[in-house]
Amino acid sequence: MKPLSLVGRSLGSVYRFLRRDKKAMVGAIILFVLLVITAFPNWFTPDNPAAEIYTPGAGLSWAHPLGTTSFGQDVFSQLMAGTRQSVMIALIVGFLSTFISVAIGITAAYTGGLVDDFLSLFTDVVLVIPTFPLIIVITAYLKSASFWLMVLVLVITGWSYGARQLRVQALSLRNRDYLLAAKARGESSWYVICVELIPPMTSLIVANFLSSALYAVLTAAGLQFVGLGNINTESWGTMLYWAQNNEALSIGMPLWALAPGIAIAVLGSSFALLNYAFDEIANPALRPVTTKRSKKALA
């Protein structure tokens, strides 16, 4: 099937490219490890993360590599269990918000005229909506702060920047002759958008996905840190919340606060590193040139 082979070819070239770029490879490995932990958290949690049965405030030991919390929970297990929420929120928000950015940005650019004017205005308005006040208002109104609510808010506030970028790139590609040629030979508009316009924009779309994911990780962690997430679930942000509320840093349990913080930074970095690689895919001029020393040159 043609679309599958197109996807397969793109993935193949992505893999080849990752192999050449060290930064991207590191990012990919980190992400892979985190995905494994997300899929099978039980392999990594030696203890039940919620169980408050251990000595509170214990130092580092083999049983508790990162110590325990004030409530007697194992920090390491909490960290591993919390991976799932953070990674899931990053990926889900990333996908949804990129999907909306692509739909709105490309429609605006391709259709032009009043539709474009309206969609651009809408995008700009959404762009300036502040996240925190919005979720505070919503949480207060709904009196609950579930995972999906957070996803909703992050997607609503996160798609607009990408939509602007994609619209601009689509506009610049729109007048390329090969799109006019497709229209001139009688292709339908849908076909032109899906087969001729979107594929050359793949690298920007992927870059958008990665930055949305990064945005989601950091913002979600921030929201959870101030207690607006569900404080009874396990996630890195809520770990930070509890650590802060119990003044972990001052009472000699620094790892309780540092570990989730570093984990968030590591996840964010993996997206940033992968983003580097896609910059280089998008702009061939940035690619490092590797040269084969020919036999003649050595002679």
Binding site: V289, T290, T291, K292, S294, A297
Partner: protein, 323 residues
């Protein structure tokens, strides 16, 4: 009597590619006299633009000058530091790029760009810069009111002329032009060339002009060099090369021009494609496409040999000459 302002000795430029180094300029040697107009003609990919950038010391990675020297007025430019080179830039050597739309900053007025160039290389005050800017624009028949215009407000021909005006700001001795007429219509082209010619006679600068279209320079250049696959294959006075092309490639090029006048006949152009510059074959680079190819052409590389007023790189021509 000869007072060459520019001399190239065995200049060699390579590009780093994934398949190995590509030889874009292959041991090119040239001499340019003061006040002379030398045109370099060749197809896309023959190395003419690379040669130009190598002379102007504007090459960037992945291109490198890997051999030879560029001697301007007795000084080897390849041996200078960037700071020392700056003293030459624009004051002695200036460059006119191919597409004004790409070379001019679209968000800055013409006047501001001219002022930029002046400020970068001189210590003139505002009044003097303004006066000189208006002067150079009038030299190319652009009204001084356009100092306040943005590039998109000018027509294509005017933009190219503005580029030339910019190049002449500091009265350079050598102006290098990279296909400045290729984006212009025929009337604007002729106007531009006539302007360049008039200014050259008045101000006495030398011109190094690169193009793929010989007819553009046919009435203006003193000498013509034909370039193929990084090598100069023919060099002589313009009229000589046009009327009596000796290299099979030059002959093929002449044949590829449909004419407006005279008898209408079928033309064939040159069959085949230029060679890959990465694994350069031994022998003559034009051999695979040459209608007069002989055995030795595949194995022995011909040298550029002076035959009367003409220099040609061809075994067949050498053979005929010796008789």
């Amino acid at each position: 009597m000869s007072n060459p302002i520019l001399q190239l000795h065995d200049l060699r430029v390579e590009y780093d590619t994934a398949a190995g180094p590509a030889l874009a300029v292959d041991d090119v040697s040239l001499k340019l006299e003061q006040g002379e107009f030398l045109a370099i003609v060749g197809e896309s990919g023959c190395g003419k633009s690379t040669l130009l950038f190598a002379i102007a010391q504007l090459l960037t990675s992945p291109a490198h000058t890997t051999g030879g020297s560029v001697v301007f007025d007795g000084v080897d430019l390849t041996s200078l530091t960037p700071e020392a080179l700056r003293a030459y830039r624009w004051r002695d050597i200036s460059v006119v790029m191919q597409s004004a739309m790409n070379a001019l900053n679209p968000t800055v007025t013409i006047g501001a760009q001219l002022a930029d160039a002046c400020e970068a290389h001189t210590d003139w005050d505002h009044a003097r810069i303004a006066k000189r800017s208006a002067e150079v624009l009038s030299m190319v028949s652009i009204d001084a009111v356009h100092l306040k215009s943005y590039p998109f407000q000018l027509s294509g021909g005017m933009r190219q002329r503005a580029m030339i005006a910019m190049a002449l700001l500091l009265e350079p001795r050598l102006v290098i032009m990279d296909e400045p007429t290729s984006a212009l219509d025929v009337v604007a082209q002729k106007t531009l060339m006539q302007q360049v010619e008039t200014l050259r006679r008045e101000l006495g600068f030398s011109v190094l002009f690169v193009t793929h279209d010989m007819s553009v320079v046919s009435h203006f250049s003193d000498r013509l060099a034909v370039m193929y696959a990084g090598q100069i294959v023919e060099l002589g006075t313009t009229r000589e090369v046009f009327d009596h092309p000796m290299h099979p490639y030059s002959q093929g090029l002449m044949e590829a021009f449909p004419s407006l006048f005279g008898e209408k006949r079928d033309l064939t152009g040159i069959a085949g494609n230029p060679p890959s510059l990465v694994d350069v074959p031994p022998g003559c680079l034009f051999a695979p496409r040459c209608p007069h190819v002989m055995d030795e052409c595949h194995t022995v590389r011909p040298e550029l040999v002076q035959i009367g007023p003409h220099a040609v790189r061809c075994h067949l021509v050498n053979k005929l000459e010796r008789r």
